[in-house]
């Protein structure tokens, strides 16, 4: 055999527990959200050990980027977390702009906020849909989520030419300026979005099965979450007020009025609620952005794309991605491609506490806990 490590299910002996059963879930499994494997040791129905195994989607993103020009890596960032290409672009652009001291015009800053928040909507809707899939609702919430997602993707497509791999941001601005029609359509979509959220919540939030299956499951306290470096909605569900949009104030976020929702229990239910509340906040940000969008250039006239050679130095650019802190660390040796390129992926780091969260629960709960962490394997493995 050789290929997959060991048989799928086997009995293991543990001197304290007697006979345990080791189950290998994945890498092909409908609820592992991609090519991810969990080696779960079970005592009866309870999980006593859980070992995440990844690397099934290791695509050498960082190494390829070190051999490519700065601009050439931009499309690869789309394929990191393939649900959120717009905000990935921005994180990378932030790092490069820091490295080169590149200013960004006001209009581009607003457009970036618009794209990032639309991406957050897409990501959070998909997460909720997939989470309910894992709970066994079989598709319906996901169908609703994808219905709305398609509308946003249509906007992305008409702007950037691609549905998923948008490749829209550039160092020093954005690639194309949206037309007034585009802005009107986007603004109408955003204004209608709360109606969809109400519909979605009516269907899901009070759902009895949902409450029974998620409350008190997969608890994470603030201490554990901070120590593990967890960021994003997963951290805020545990009650830690840490949002890079507020802390760092990158882009033009300080100009926007929005709240950072916080959870109290750090369980799966809180992590779900966090997403729903964040979507409502995103709508607020988007409405303000459409209202205040200034006229002007979308690209800094001095910005250089081709033949871009930053000075020797290093920079770390980060933003509050939908899944948490997405950062790019770049070291330049003055050549056209980065000397070192490193991604700080939220998915991978949020995954590190999967075992702690799942211990003592059943394997069906582990599936839901994994769903609530919100991982995309392209980012976990890179």
């Amino acid at each position: 055999m050789g290929a997959a490590a060991g048989p799928l299910v086997r009995a293991v002996h543990d001197e304290f527990h007697g006979d345990l059963l080791e189950v290998s879930m994945g890498p092909q499994h409908p609820s592992t959200h991609g090519v991810f494997r969990m080696v779960v040791t079970l005592d009866g129905e309870r999980i006593v050990k859980l070992k995440p195994v990844f690397g099934y989607l290791h695509r050498n993103h960082e190494k390829i980027a070190e051999g490519t020009s700065y601009l050439g890596s931009m499309p690869y960032t789309d394929r990191l977390d393939y649900l959120c290409s717009m905000s990935n672009n921005w994180a990378y652009a932030l790092a490069v702009e820091k490295l080169a001291g590149q200013p960004v015009p006001d209009r581009a800053q607003y457009l970036r906020v618009i794209m990032a928040e639309l991406t957050r909507l897409v990501n959070h809707m998909c997460l909720v849909g997939f989470l309910f899939n894992d709970l066994g609702t079989s598709f319906t919430p996901l169908l609703y989520a994808f219905r709305e997602r398609e509308k946003i993707l249509d906007l992305f497509e008409s702007l950037s030419g691609s549905r998923m791999m948008c490749n829209y941001q550039r160092f020093g601005g954005c690639r194309v300026d949206p037309t007034p029609e585009w802005l009107a359509a986007a603004s109408a979509l955003v204004n209608n979005f709360p109606r969809f959220l109400d519909e979605y919540e009516t269907m899901l939030t009070g759902n009895e099965i949902m409450l029974a299956r998620t409350q008190g499951i997969g608890r994470l306290n603030a201490q554990q979450a901070i120590n593990a470096g967890i960021t994003g909605p997963g951290l805020r569900a545990s009650g830690v007020d840490y949002d890079i949009r507020k802390v760092d104030g990158y882009g033009f976020y300080p100009r926007f009025d929005f709240r950072v929702p916080l959870g109290a229990h750090g369980d799966t239910y809180d992590r779900y609620m966090m997403r729903v509340l964040e979507m409502r906040e995103s709508v607020k940000i988007l409405q303000q952005a459409f209202r205040d969008l200034p006229a002007g250039p979308i690209m800094d006239p001095k910005a250089k794309l081709r033949g871009f050679r930053p000075k020797i130095g290093e920079a770390y650019g980060r933003l509050e991605g939908p899944k948490g802190e997405l950062g790019f660390h770049l070291i330049s040796d003055g050549s056209p491609n980065p000397y070192r390129y490193r991604v700080r992926p939220p998915s991978l780091i949020n995954l590190t506490l999967l075992e702690e969260m799942s211990l003592g629960h059943t394997i069906a709960d582990a599936v839901v806990i994994l769903g609530s962490i919100d991982i995309v394997l392209g980012e976990v493995d890179r």
Partner: protein
Amino acid sequence: MTDAEREELRRHGILLTSLEELYNWGRSNSIWPLQFGLACCAIEMIAAATARFDIARFGAEIFRPSPRQADLMIVSGTVTKKMAPLVVRLWNQMPEPKYCIAMGACAISGGPFKQGYNVLKGIDRYIPVDIYIPGCPPRPEALLHGLTQLQAKIRGEHLAGPDQAQHLRPANPGELPIPDYGAHDLEPPHNPARFSPPSLPRKA
């Protein structure tokens, strides 16, 4: 019988067909794909199953979580060398007749990640691919187009005769060898019985 005569009969409510046609018609309109995605392309595959694109129109909406119940493998996404043996194993577990669609640049050739040491340069090195869908990622419509092409291919298969379908030939191996993790690469790097690219003469 000519097509015109057959059409004439059909108008009178008489359907004349061959067993082969009926059999292929049934098979081509009830394809059960394996619910299995590898990377970004898988999201577009999911989108193809949702209401807007609705793969159900082609009778292929029953995505099966188990390879035992599936007859179409849509390789949607980057196949890494760590994953390739498992993909071949899943393929082996699918019952005949079975088909494979390589969805997206990665599954076809490694795509944008071709330079990566860990990326398999195309799943056709190990598995016979029926339909290639280019794109990065291909749109859901492209997947549906690929699916209709596959249906056309299934409808053209013969039950008997010299050009009998592959899966009906006793000599055809149902199981393919699963590559192993070697010291540096997968062993063998490709299935020589399946994949034999022309060797390009290089100038000295």
